[in-house]
Symmetry: C2
Subunit: 65 residues, 2 copies
DNA sequence: ATTGAATATTAATTCAAG
DNA sequence: CTTGAATTAATATTCAAT
C-alpha cells in the first residue's frame, strides 16, 4: 500500500542519510516493502521531498522541502 | 569569470522557469556567457540551488534553497 | 489508480587541460 | 583553481500490466 510506504519513507530519511532513490528502495526492501526506483521517484514527488547537501562530509541526502 | 556567471544565474532563475541544467547553460549562452552543463552542475551546488516543483502546470524549475 | 521493467533524460563526476 | 568533453550515475517517464 502506498500510504504505508510513504510513512516508512519519511521515517527512513530522518533516521538514515539516503543518497539515491535506489538506496531508498533498498532500505524499504530491507523492511520488507518491495518497491523499485521508478516508484520511489514518484513517491518523492508526491511527498515533496528534495535533495539537500548533507551536514557532514557526505554529498547529499533526502530531506523534506 | 565565475562570479559574473553566478550572478547571472541567480537573475535568470528568478526571471525564467528553467527546467534543466542544459537549459540554464543555453540561457547563459544567449547572454554571451559560454558554459557547459558540467559547469552549471558545479555552479548549482555552489549556489545551493535546488529544484522545486513549479507553481503552474509545469514540471519543475530552479529555485534558491 | 499503482506499479515495474525498460528506456530516455538529466545531472554529477572523471579526466585531461588551461 | 576553473572548465569542457566524455563518461558514469541518478532520476523521470513510457509503456504495458495489474
Amino acid at each position: 500500500m502506498k500510504n504505508r510506504r510513504h510513512d516508512l519513507i519519511k521515517k527512513i530519511i530522518e533516521e538514515d542519510v539516503i543518497e539515491t532513490q535506489e538506496a531508498l528502495a533498498e532500505a524499504l526492501r530491507a523492511r520488507h516493502v518491495r518497491v523499485t526506483q521508478a516508484t520511489i521517484s514518484r513517491d518523492i514527488k508526491e511527498l515533496f521531498l528534495i535533495k539537500v547537501p548533507a551536514g557532514g562530509g557526505r554529498r547529499s541526502e533526502e530531506r523534506f522541502s
